[in-house]
């Protein structure tokens, strides 16, 4: 019973635990480096009405564009490779070579080629998320049993209908999972990228506050990042709940 309640209010529950830790650290260190949570939260709500909101929106915009581009490219290439084993054989080794490279190392090069502005930052995040989505899509298509293809073909489905009823629904939940993982990474990378040649973005905001030794503002910025993450993750959860009810049932079954 208690356990059920905890899972129902798990976001609140999680926030409470983090708050307790935060207070504990605040009292242990007794330093301005770790400002007290209530002052930070108060500062957050003041700032979010003004400049912090702009910084957050700029970051969100960069992530969203990158996600959309990666989804389009990653899904099409992934579907193509998953359905055409011939090409997959030749292209996969290339992907495996490029996949593990820390793409952030390319930031200087990207900045030289694509300029210092938004483009280079968006491209950096795109190439990070892209691989994740591509490989996930390819593998989930490959994992589809031949029988499912036979069964839908025997019902008379054409190519488009096979995509609509079989391939897309099969890939979709796995795509959400890979988005969850890659968005975490992309926020972290964006934070780093926003330290260069920009005056907007949550990364800039935090490092700027740090440089000005304004720890309360810095923490308000960190709070903003974590809310940004929370928002995106909840959005993905919502999509999964609405569109992939069956996945939940399958997970229950496995327990």
């Amino acid at each position: 019973m208690i356990f059920k309640k905890i899972t129902k209010y798990k976001t609140i529950y999680g926030s409470l635990i983090i708050l307790i830790f935060w207070y504990a650290l605040h009292f242990i260190f007794k330093s301005t480096i770790i400002p007290s949570p209530h002052i930070t939260i108060y500062e957050f709500f003041i700032l979010i009405k003004g400049k912090l909101l702009i910084h957050i929106l700029v970051s969100l915009f960069r992530i969203l564009i990158a996600v959309i581009i990666s989804l389009i490219i990653g899904m099409s290439v992934g579907l193509f490779l998953g359905l055409n084993k011939k090409y997959d054989k030749y292209i996969s080794p290339m992907i495996y070579l490029l996949y593990p490279i820390p793409k952030i190392a390319f930031l200087p090069i990207l900045m030289i080629i694509f300029g210092l502005g938004n483009t280079s930052k968006i491209i950096l995040i795109t190439i990070i998320i892209l691989f994740q989505i591509l490989v996930t899509t390819r593998d989930s298509v490959k994992g589809l049993s031949k029988e499912l293809f036979y069964s839908i073909k025997s019902l008379g489905a054409n190519k488009i209908q096979i995509y609509r009823h079989l391939i897309i629904p099969a890939v979709f939940p796995k795509l959400l999972t890979s988005l969850r993982i890659s968005i975490g990474t992309s926020i972290a990378v964006l934070f780093f990228a926003e330290n260069f040649a920009t005056r907007y973005g949550i990364g800039y905001f935090i490092m700027d506050s740090w440089a000005r030794v304004d720890y309360i503002q810095m923490f308000a910025g960190i709070l903003a990042i974590s809310f940004l993450g929370l928002l995106i993750f909840k959005l993905i959860d919502l999509l999964e709940d609405k569109l992939c009810k069956w996945i939940k049932l399958e997970k229950l079954e496995q327990k």
Binding site: Y150, S151, L155, C244
Partner: protein, 246 residues
């Protein structure tokens, strides 16, 4: 209705069906029985038009089969239900794909679900069903398109004896009421004898037909309780063993 002439089927270089000839009459049933790996499923996929013959011909009503013939229903070895669709949406899929009107789909699907006694399950997902229920849903899905030819691949192999017999009775009833030509692949001798008007015995290797038996007792719902049933079962069993010894 189905004529198979000098059929050879291959996967890549390996020949799986080696020169098969077979005629199946309209409104009759045919049970294909043989050991695992002898090519039963492959043959069935050929008749369904999903796999292309390497050489030879498969004719249905004197036309060469093509993919997605409108009135062929196929029920696969592992049911082939889509896990992301509810029972109702799985069963309606064939009609949706054929572009039927919403009203007609609703009417037909509800009717078939009621006939098969699974209407109460319509909002469940396949994972929430028992094996026997999944099988019924797969049958329902194949029936919505009003097939004149129904192909079944080891439909009841994973079920307990009672559910299996219930479903065998159901299939017999469907066959009789709807004038459906039925081709059934199985490796269960009792099933082949109960559901096969002709029983085709395939060989151990090379996808050849060893024997074709006519089953005069086919169609009797009480067959299982009669001694003739066991006589034919025995006959089939001996033919299969003879093949093994050779």
């Amino acid at each position: 209705m189905v004529k198979i002439k000098n059929l050879i089927m291959k996967y890549g270089n390996s020949t799986v069906i080696k020169n098969i000839n077979l005629n199946i009459n309209k409104n009759s049933t045919c049970a294909i029985i043989g050991p695992s790996g002898c090519g039963k499923s492959t043959l069935l996929y050929g008749i369904a038009g999903i796999l292309k013959p390497f050489s030879g011909e498969i004719l249905i009503n004197n036309f060469p089969v093509k993919e997605n013939r409108k009135k062929t229903g196929l029920i696969l070895q592992n049911y082939g239900l889509l896990p992301w669709k509810t029972v109702w949406n799985n069963v309606s899929l064939g009609l949706t794909i054929r572009g039927y009107h919403k009203k007609d789909i609703q009417y037909n699907v509800d009717k078939v679900l009621r006939e098969l006694d699974v209407y109460d399950l319509k909002d469940r997902y396949p994972i929430e069903l028992s094996g026997g229920q999944r099988q019924r849903i797969a049958i329902a899905r194949a029936l919505t398109i009003s097939p004149d030819l129904l192909l079944m691949d080891e439909p009841f192999s994973s079920l307990d004896a009672i559910s299996r017999e219930n479903l065998q009775n159901l299939i017999l009833k469907i066959h009789k009421e709807n004038n459906i030509t039925l081709i059934l692949v199985t490796h269960n001798i009792e099933e082949a004898v109960f559901l096969g008007q002709t029983i085709v015995i395939m060989g151990q290797k090379f996808g050849e037909i060893k024997n074709i038996i006519n089953n005069p007792y086919f169609g009797d719902e009480e067959l299982r309780y009669k001694s003739d049933y066991y006589k034919i079962c025995m006959e089939v069993r001996q033919l299969m063993r003879k093949d093994e010894i050779k």
